[in-house]
Symmetry: C2
Subunit: 181 residues, 2 copies
DNA sequence: CTCACAATATATCAATTTGATATATTATGG
DNA sequence: CCATAATATATCAAATTGATATATTGTGAG
């Protein structure tokens, strides 16, 4: 096993654009990336320490005069190599864990209202996130020609397209359930 | 924390229909459920043991005359209660972890061909799974009136609708990348 | 018929990840 | 000027994965 640590690649990917602290990395992951990946402090800080030991990143302890410790990380050439190799490897694990679908799947013996309620909660979640994604898209459309922005744009449109498909399915599903009550 | 064990609910959901062994449970999870949830032996067997201790399931050690040990599990009333409460609770964690999107997001500085390659690998994965889902759907359409089958059907159409949206996005994305090479 | 291989079956382990919590500092709004 | 939010690092138990160990039963090719 070992070297299944996907968080390493997320961190290296982020550091390939700019130097960041662990806290910064968490903020980036919680931003536009959060639609297709997650990451917690509990994985970020240990990963940074281990990658520093193995030479993929370098510490740049930017201690302010009086301030609290603040460890800035910088990607090394070795780190860039690991990142590039991963990008060129076309195999990818794409995993979905949707508790809503689990509840629908197992909710067949319950009253149909229970399933409808679960679909409506999902619908609400998706609508909120869709609004956010549409904002990202708008802001991106003006800077699409800048280096790397098309790729960022593509992940946003992926989110929008799938969320819109989800909402259409919600409408269809509720209609089907109500028709057969 | 504690009681974040989603695998418990998957197991209880499966046992609410029929008695199963841990091995059977793994097979069910790897079937039609695998499109929206995963589960490994390493989580199933410990969960079964702990749920037996807490009285949510009961062992029915169906030792064949000569055969190897085979532990059949049966859901208890307490187990059904836990399952029903979970189904009625509308909050749900819906998490997507798509390494492909991560590679697209971070692939902006690489050659566009790298991103296209990653999209094509994804496209292939999705096409294969879509064929499977369409087979499930066909088989279900004739038994849609049976108890609980609409719910199963809905999860399958969810998969089909989103996978079709993915494929449309793949075509669009490749066109956009090639146009701007 | 038999032998290798696939399928059935349970169990455990290291590595990974989550989600929570602990701790401390700095900025800010009422 | 004080409470709260934001910044910042770190650690831990619990959950999960993916691999591996072990053993039995069914089956198809020779």
């Amino acid at each position: 096993m070992a070297k299944d640590r996907k968080i390493d690649l997320v961190i290296l990917g982020l550091l390939s654009h700019e130097d960041l602290t662990g806290y910064d990395i968490k903020k980036r992951i919680d931003g536009s990336i959060s639609f297709f990946w997650k990451g917690s402090f509990g994985s970020i800080y240990p990963a940074l320490n281990e990658m520093e030991k193995s030479g993929l990143v370098k510490k740049k302890e930017a201690k302010k005069s009086s301030g609290r410790e603040k460890i800035m990380y910088h990607i090394t050439a070795a780190g860039r190599k690991v990142l590039a190799d991963w990008l060129k490897d076309e195999q990818a694990s794409n995993d979905l864990k949707y508790e809503t679908l689990l509840k629908i799947y197992f909710g067949g013996s319950e009253d149909k209202a229970v399933t409808i309620c679960n679909i409506e909660a999902f619908e609400k979640q998706i609508k909120e996130n869709l609004e956010l994604l549409k904002l990202y898209k708008e802001n991106l459309e003006s800077v699409l020609d800048e280096e790397g922005h098309i790729n960022y744009y593509l992940t946003v449109t992926f989110g929008i397209d799938t969320y819109e498909a989800y909402l259409k399915w919600c409408t269809k599903a509720k209609k089907l359930l109500k028709g057969r009550r």
